[in-house]
Symmetry: C2
DNA sequence: GGGAACTGTCTCTACCGTACACAGAGGAAA
DNA sequence: TTTCCTCTGTGTACGGTAGAGACAGTTCCC
């Protein structure tokens, strides 16, 4: 079972030849391959070759590729950081930004986190860290979870489209061509998409997408908190009045 | 090139035997397979078999699998709806909800929209529809684009984790087991994740995640708009004073 | 009717994940 | 020290994938 893999201690019996590899070494090699050539390039063969072994030897350490990817992900995301003390909003901003940085450092991580899958220790720790920021605020458990889900989702979305941005990191010029091709499409079919053409054509202020979305989401949370506090105050006043 | 596939009219020469298939039929078959067995089950072989042909015959219609998936996506997402007239916020709410519904109807669509890829006509039309809602508001082009990106990202995120939710749609009981296993992990390692354990353990109010996030995001946009309007009013007042 | 163009199929290559059997290594027990 | 037993890494094999290229048959244009 994939999920046991992270949490269950694997006892090492002392009999027989000593393993030449470690899970960490395998995960590192796989992460290196993914970082440089993309997640699609990560195959048992490729990773084993990177280590100088045959692909079947990896199965002595891992039940299958699913577990390898899960391991890569845990290693790429890493443990959550210590956030600087302060207001909940500043802390969540820091948390989101740092999470985005991890995703940007390993763009394949977005691809690796689609679909139903068990969460690893580091992933849960990131959640825990974010939830701690909301501690003490008048939000229900679901609202706390949903809040950090929205924030994490925003970061993931941005990391995903970061590769397609006309930024500095242009791997092999392929993206550039895609952007150029989409531009050509808009030029020739622009009449069907007037608002889109106008919005894209408008100059300035690109690459602010993450900060913009983050600010809107946190503004929204702030509105909710203010509403709750107003409500509390009214209730308190009513209580005082009825007393 | 994948991108030409949607926009470039393919001229049909009248010579030779008439094609037995159509792109629509192929896309429909592929969508059916994906809907019932997941995106992983969509292979050239499988789709061709569904139509009673060999896989190589599909390559007479499609350059490759990339184009097939792009075609499936366009078909699954479909054309954007006519939104009911009204305030921008209500319209964007409707837009987001309808987009989520499309994703929920074809959960594999989330998986199919990861990574760098060209957008199809329907996808651009959805963007256009959302941007039209923001028309006339004091937002820059980038802000408009970022706004709908956040909304779309939120819907996608929710559609993704909808499959993992302990809801009604429990395909083959596997999800149930994963949720159960994660619960077991939290029970045995809960001390490492106190806030998480508390938030999950808190009763009530599940399955509101989409509405919650949507409300927060739109609240945030509303705050920005109010700020802009206040600013405008101040500027106007200052102009009047200086005049 | 003949040539040209297009159809669907067949064969082939190069991968992928992984099940299984097996020779050798090396500590534990005799 | 010798035997045994377990664990290691590897070789082979199987069914799957995407796709290239050659091929025979069909159908229209000249």
């Amino acid at each position: 079972m994939t999920i046991d893999f992270f949490w269950h201690e694997r006892p090492r019996s002392t009999r027989g030849p000593k393993p030449a590899l470690t899970l960490d070494a395998i995960a590192d090699a796989a992460v290196t391959v993914a970082d440089t050539e993309g997640l699609a390039a990560v195959s048992m063969q490729r990773v084993a070759a990177e280590l100088g072994f045959t692909k079947m030897s990896l199965y002595r350490y891992l039940p299958g590729k699913t577990e390898l990817v899960a391991l890569m992900l845990e290693r790429a995301i890493g443990a959550p950081p210590e956030l600087t003390p302060g207001e909940w909003r500043a802390r969540l901003e820091e948390w989101s930004t740092l999470l985005l940085a991890r995703y940007l450092a390993h763009p394949w991580a977005v691809e690796a986190t689609v679909g139903r899958r068990p969460l690893g220790p580091h992933e849960l720790s990131w959640m825990e860290t974010a939830l701690a920021c909301l501690s003490g605020l008048p939000l229900t458990g679901s609202e706390r979870l949903d809040t950090i889900a929205v924030l994490a989702g925003h970061g993931r979305m941005l990391a995903q489209q970061a590769g397609a941005m006309p930024g500095e990191a242009a791997p092999d010029g392929a993206e550039d061509e895609m952007v150029r091709a989409m531009g050509a499409v808009l030029r020739s079919h622009g009449d069907r998409f007037p608002h889109l053409t106008a919005a894209i054509g408008e100059p300035g202020g690109a690459n602010q997408a993450f900060d913009y979305g983050l600010a809107r989401i946190l503004d929204g949370v702030e509105v909710l908190l203010r509403d709750r506090q107003d409500q509390d105050r009214q209730v308190t006043r009513a209580d005082a009045q009825s007393a």
